[in-house]
Symmetry: C2
Subunit: 508 residues, 2 copies
């Protein structure tokens, strides 16, 4: 630029990958989280709010060979120590469970809700700060603890507005897979890990892809050849049988989701358990896993969480490498339209499971833990798709300003409305242009505007303008309707509150 | 250490200057903020949640001569750009008001609640992450906007449990001081700023100290000599008269706080205004300030915010250098004991005022703004001192586990209680040692423990143990009372819920 314009002005810009949330976005999320928190609280879970900042050492993201912590977290150095923003709510829980282990009740049930930060490349819909909502029980080894988390998850989903029938919770158990691998003679830990990594790709590469990757390998989409785990076809078949030990019944099930087996769908869970029991052979760990699954569904079905909601499904493999016992995933089964307008199932909104090495990094002692994490943005999107978002954020009643000298009168009107619990405000911009006041009311989504000029004041009346009805009439009304349903009424000042109440009540 | 103990374990430690919040601490703060948010919402304010991370440039903390941003913020470099955690909620509002100026309604009323971060030396009670709670109106120049914020602050204080009579809001106006300085012939901006800085020390150095510092200077506590502003004694007197233009009436007022002037304490506000009007002489700006103050209290008193709650007091000088018009401070007037056991007034919990250069840094255009910030931790401390903290965090009813094989039965009891909205949980630790289960219930603050062994199960009954009564009896009861008020009752399983309800009701 040729001219010197004085000091350079800073850019008013949210940093890349971050975003701001306005009005209804904040209120809707808060309302959802409040409902979830009420369920967690009823289950005996206590709130925990750790600081956003942790030592990099405590987060466990410090790579021993480099000075700079890895790129996944936002970190900075301070007098030789590295600090970082938490990247999830589990790492801080581990730190807290170790730090306060002598003071906390054991088992320790806690929930946490708040933002986490990821230093990743932002993309469409992928942000570097987002909310997580976790509940965990630390120090309880029993399957009852896992089952309780699952019941609580179901209750939480229903509390926010996901109806029964619109969700299922799929359950699996890491020990069963370990048993299957043991029965195949795959004792080598690296090979076991390779199988885990491979079946974790089920969502991405599909069944055929997993089959190839368990064997020799496959060409990926980019044309590169990906080496396989190297199982022979018999072993590959058994792993695939494991993965399909539930879906094998799908193809022969009736449309209502009832299995063809005689009786209720509870028999389907039993049939899957039978399959699994055969597949784990004589592996003790596998047998244990099958027994845990059985206990899990039995405990839940005794409380009414039946097999229409809680489903044993060994194809739930996401995170199996991380969890050590039961794992589960909540899936919404209703359809939405994808970006291309095709119907598809909404899919996963929450997941969790047992991970027994939570505080071992800190204390050297293993501590059993089990928990769930709800995908806050996913669940909000689901509620939006179902029209279930809390719309508490209705615009305020706007009292317009016709006469600068009577601000106290206008404030008095606003005050009367507020005292009755009605959201209301006086127009605080420059009142000169009355059209701007109505435009403002429109932008605020106001249901009602109040008008009192000199003339009305002298007569002790106010004009009450129903903006919702007005907009509707302007769109579609006949002349008769215009006349019979006036969108603006004149009432005595003393009847202002009653009139506003009446109109708000009419619009629900 | 002599022995190699394997890989070094990370320390489980909150970073220095940060802290964790547990259970009731989280719930109490949340309950308080929810109540404040409800008031703000009723006043037409919309929630805004900006990202925790801002560009250092937008925060305005970048020092032009150094590569590293100043030490007051937590900052890090990313591909040449500096990012930082926000240090307050006003800087992000300024950025948002500039960034979205074409989309936001104008005036824009917003509130924001959330953590902010300060890279300062931590001290006792001084943390590097803490909550702020702000409400601001951007784009409204009128005194009505300032008065509304003050009314809202009063309503918010009462909504969280500070009773009328326990707080006052002291109001001042920067323009009045400017007028006083102008009438003294102090046109030099640097000298004006020096006076501002000096009277800002009133809290710290007292009236005599300010008097010395306005004149030649004084020895501070460390023995160092601090140069004064250099006003002559006549000018110093006038500045002191300004500062005392309210307190001059205190010494002659009656104990109830009523002035000796005839009539109500409203006359005291009028008397102060008269004083100020004399002090500003013929300064236009000063006269304008006095008029604004008058309009401010008139608007408020018309709505019932009378001069017992809203007080004109020129000794409110904190932040006068920052604000451009009205300033105010909410003070709690009840007494608490300080660290040394001496009674003292609780003091300030919130403050705010008008600052008209909010977005100018970004756009070059001045935009009028006015707002308030509530000191979240201060207000929480006040509520704690008044016994007004929300204690929603009562411990859960604990169903103990006597028989591992009947977990489903115990879960059923818990379920019945939860379904009735009662906070309840099954003991999930190792059930072997029953004493541990009761110790656990104690640590959780449980009001009731439920017990059902083999024998009770066979007879279809449960033991319901009233832990609150039990603790009370153990402390103070006679043998007769022990007998007449059994802390443990046996009831049929079908009466479990009713019995628990009954006991909880008894303890309120």
């Amino acid at each position: 630029m040729a001219k010197n314009k004085g000091p350079r002005r800073p850019k008013a810009q949210t940093p890349k990958g971050f975003r701001d949330y306005f009005g209804a976005e904040v209120s809707a999320r808060k309302a959802m989280l409040d409902r979830i928190a009420a369920v967690y609280h009823r289950y005996g879970f206590d709130a925990l709010e750790t600081s956003a900042v942790e030592t990099v050492e405590a987060l466990g993201k410090f790579l021993p060979d480099v000075d700079r912590p890895n790129e996944g977290v936002f970190a900075w150095e301070e007098e030789g120590d590295w600090l970082a923003l938490r990247y999830d709510l589990t790492a801080p829980l581990a730190r807290v469970a170790a730090q306060y282990r002598n003071d906390l009740p054991s088992p320790y049930r806690r929930y946490a809700m708040g933002p986490v930060w990821r230093n990743e490349k932002p993309g469409p819909g992928r942000f570097r700060q987002f909310y997580q909502c976790d509940a965990d029980t630390v120090g309880a080894a029993s399957v009852a603890a896992d089952a309780e988390i699952c019941a609580m998850l179901a209750d939480a989903l229903e509390a926010v507005g996901i109806e029964r029938g619109d969700y299922v919770i799929r359950v699996n158990n890491r020990k069963v897979l370990n048993g299957v691998l043991a029965s195949l003679g795959l004792a080598d830990e690296e090979q076991q890990a390779a199988v885990l990594r491979t079946i974790d790709k089920l969502d991405k590469v599909g069944e055929a892809g997993v089959r190839e990757l368990l064997g020799k390998g496959r060409l990926d989409a980019s044309g590169a050849y990906i080496d396989g785990v190297g199982l022979d076809s018999e072993k590959t078949n058994i792993v695939m049988q494991y993965l399909n030990s539930r879906s094998v019944f799908d193809s022969i099930s009736e449309p209502e989701g009832q299995g063809i087996l005689p009786g209720s769908s509870a028999d389907l869970n039993s049939a899957v358990l039978n399959n699994l029991r055969l597949l784990v052979g004589d592996s003790q760990e596998g047998f244990q896993g099958v027994r845990e699954l059985m206990e899990f569904v039995n405990l839940l079905s005794a409380q009414g969480y039946d097999s229409k909601r809680i489903i044993i499904d060994p194809s739930v493999v996401r995170g199996l490498g991380y969890y050590t016992g039961p794992v589960f995933e909540a899936e919404l089964t209703f359809e939405i339209l994808d970006e291309k307008g095709r119907p598809r199932q909404f899919g996963s909104v929450a997941g969790g499971g047992r991970y027994d090495d939570l505080v071992k990094r800190f204390t050297g002692q293993p501590v059993p833990a089990t928990g769930v994490s709800i995908g806050v943005d996913r669940l909000l999107a689901a509620l939006a798709a179902k029209g279930r978002l809390d719309s508490a954020a209705q615009g305020p009643v706007v009292v317009t300003v016709m006469d600068r000298d009577r601000m106290a009168d206008y404030m008095g009107m606003v005050n009367d409305l507020r005292a009755a619990g009605i959201r209301a405000e006086m127009y605080l911009g420059n009142p000169k242009n009355f059209g701007n006041q109505l435009k403002y009311a429109d932008k605020r989504g106001s249901p009602i505007a109040i008008i009192q000029g000199e003339d009305e004041a002298a007569r002790g009346v106010v004009q009450v303008k129903d903006l919702i009805l007005g907009a509707k009439l302007a769109e579609e009304a006949t002349v008769e309707e215009w006349k019979s349903q006036p969108a603006q009424v004149e009432v005595p000042r003393a009847e202002l509150l009653a009139t506003v109440r009446d109109i708000l009540g009419r619009h629900g």
